[in-house]
């Protein structure tokens, strides 16, 4: 498990370097009798840019839910910033971006109102202060969505919507960004811009964990790749991943690096 440390970019020291962002040790999880993930051990340090890849049904999303404490492992321990994941209560440190938030398709809500939610863990039952609103507006600026602040989210393109969700994570001042197949349904051009955004955020010290289907994007942007199909087939730098045969073993023979196995 030492191989990946070389891929760690210069960490900006937002968290103590001795505490991992995410740590799983010997984690098993399954519904009824069939295991979904088995014997997963991994450690993600602050500042890393990690992609989890794997075929459909390989347990990627389950793994993410275990990491975030949304599911509890049957065996083993999942930790977030050193605490057991299910007890972790610094929710604002994690920004979560899903494929699509279901309600975002119809609900009347503006981009700014979505980004505002990033401040909710900070304000609790109170109101947002002017300082909170400054942070919201700065997050909108950062992702280049300031001009869309008062647009209804339903009117946005897929790429714009995902930028809004990133802005929500920034407003929350998250230092770990978890993205579950964020570019599904986003046009090619926006996908490129989206990954560039992730790159810049990562070089500013935000830890990025990307659950991804698009292998081309992963190998181009992520520093470290974890290839999963119920168990870990590969865990190392993106370059080594391209050269290894892990892909063929995990995906079977159909996949190739051009993606398209969707």
């Amino acid at each position: 498990m030492r191989t990946h440390t070389s891929a760690t970019p210069t960490s900006s020291g937002t968290a103590s370097s001795t505490v991992s962002a995410i740590e799983l040790s010997d984690v098993d999880f399954g519904y009824t009798s069939s295991p979904v993930v088995e014997e997963i051990s991994l450690r993600i340090d602050p500042g890393e840019y990690v992609a989890v890849v794997g075929p459909n049904g390989s347990g990627k999303s389950t793994l993410m839910q275990l990491m975030l404490g949304l599911l509890r492992p049957d065996e083993g321990v999942a930790r977030l910033f050193g605490e057991p994941s299910h007890q972790f209560d610094d929710g604002e440190r994690i920004g979560y971006v899903a494929q699509h938030a279901s309600a975002s398709k119809e609900m009347p809500i503006t981009v700014r109102e979505v980004v505002k939610m990033g401040r909710f863990p900070h304000v609790g039952f109170g109101r947002l202060s002017s300082e909170d609103w400054d942070i919201v507006d700065r997050a909108l600026d950062t992702v280049g969505m300031a001009a869309f602040a008062n647009r209804r989210v339903t009117q946005l393109s897929g790429g714009q919507r995902q930028r809004a969700f990133i802005a929500r994570a920034l407003a929350s001042e998250a230092d770990l960004l978890v993205l579950d197949e964020p570019t599904v349904g986003v046009d090619m051009e926006s996908v490129e811009a989206f990954y560039n955004l992730l790159d810049s955020l990562n070089s500013n010290g935000i830890t990025v964990l990307l659950i991804e289907h698009d292998l081309g994007a992963v190998t181009e942007h992520a520093d470290r790749v974890i290839c999963l199909n119920r168990e870990i087939y590969f865990d190392g730098s993106a370059n080594e991943f391209v050269e290894s045969d892990a892909l063929a073993r995990a995906f079977g023979t159909t996949a190739n690096l051009l993606g398209g196995s969707r």
């Binding site: 975030l68 309600a103 009347p108 109102e113 600026d141 008062n150 811009a193």
Partner: protein, 336 residues
């Protein structure tokens, strides 16, 4: 009219709770009488209309308020299910009064039974990981069946009084039930006011809300309990069968024309109040049942909102602003 003798069970502690509401009801009645004197409107001259109007105004605020959170989670029908269990609660109350002579307001037992059913639905959905139509339909029909059985066992005089619960009635809004509604109103508005951030987050993106540390299941329980309160409160005028419409129709109309979430809540309340006030007026002068008239008006307003929304989309097409460039330089500046 001395309410103390009417409700022996509610004396003592309950009386202390309801006291201010009775005071407010009397005050409201004076205001309305004064308004009647000024305008000469016949509708404003009767005590029962004073209460009906107040109850209607409260429903017009809290039903769309709660409905906004339900509709955007595809939970529109939970109101219907809870209203039918509320009917069972009414029957329980009538039954207890007839058998044990308790003298408790049927609306009070309806609130209790409906809230228990709400928690039950929520716990089923937590165990099965989904709100499913099947469990909702089972709760709905169980509630209604229980209600009809209790009432038929008790037969005779009781069945006569059931219509007002099924279809609602302006004339039967008593001091007691109006006071209960005011209490429910205060609780609902207070709780939503306190937890509005959390309820919005859970409604919009349940997983992200859970990741950010909110206890999603607790907020869901709060939500269904509030729904039970609103539904039973609104039942007096709207009736069991039509009450769910007040949770859904104004909200659906508002989301056609609103841009932001806050705006949609405001608009839905305005639309609901419009339907309620017009509906009470029309039903009084046309001698039609208020619940039905209010719902028909609400639907007409909804249709209007759909047309307006389409017009807005067609004519008010804003030019797409330039997407700003990505500037991460200050993304983490407040972090240390």
């Amino acid at each position: 009219m001395t309410y103390l003798s009417v409700v022996p069970l509610q004396a003592g502690l309950l009386d202390a709770v309801f006291g201010p509401f009775y005071w407010f009801l009397n005050y409201w009645s004076e205001v309305m009488s004064w308004a009647a004197g000024q305008t000469g409107l016949e509708i404003l001259q009767y005590g029962f209309m004073h209460r009906a109007i107040l109850v209607g105004l409260c429903i017009g605020v809290m039903a769309p308020l709660i409905g906004t959170f339900l509709v955007h989670r595809q939970l529109a029908l939970i109101g219907d299910a809870l209203a039918h269990t509320g009917f069972a609660g009414v029957a329980v109350g009538l039954f207890l009064n007839a058998v044990l002579d308790l003298g408790v307001s049927p609306y009070l037992t309806a609130v209790v039974v409906s809230m228990i059913a709400a928690l039950f639905i929520e716990l089923i959905s937590e165990a099965t990981d989904a709100y499913n139509d099947v469990s909702m339909a089972i709760v709905l029909s169980t509630g209604f069946a229980l209600g009809t059985v209790l009432i038929s066992i008790n037969a005779g005089g009781l069945a006569v009084g059931v219509n007002q619960f099924l279809f609602g009635n302006l004339a039967t809004v008593t001091q007691d039930s109006a006071a209960i509604l005011l209490l429910l109103f205060v609780i609902v508005i207070g709780v939503v006011g306190l937890t509005r951030n959390q309820l919005l987050y859970v409604t919009f993106d349940e997983t992200a809300a859970a990741v950010s540390g909110l206890s999603v299941s607790w907020y869901n329980r709060i939500m269904v309990l509030l729904t039970a309160m609103v539904v039973v409160g609104a039942m007096q005028i709207m009736g069991v069968i039509l009450v769910a419409a007040m949770l859904v129709v104004p909200v659906a109309g508002a989301s056609q024309v609103s841009r932001s979430f806050n705006e949609s809540i405001l608009v839905s309340v305005v639309l609901a109040e419009l339907a309620v006030v017009l509906g009470i007026g029309v039903s009084y002068y046309a001698e039609a049942t208020a619940g039905g008239v209010i719902v028909l008006l609400a639907v007409a307003i909804y249709v209007g909102a759909v047309v307006l929304g389409k017009l807005q989309a067609a004519t008010g097409e804003e030019d797409t602003p330039e997407m700003g460039s990505i500037d991460v330089s200050d993304a983490k500046q407040s972090d240390d």
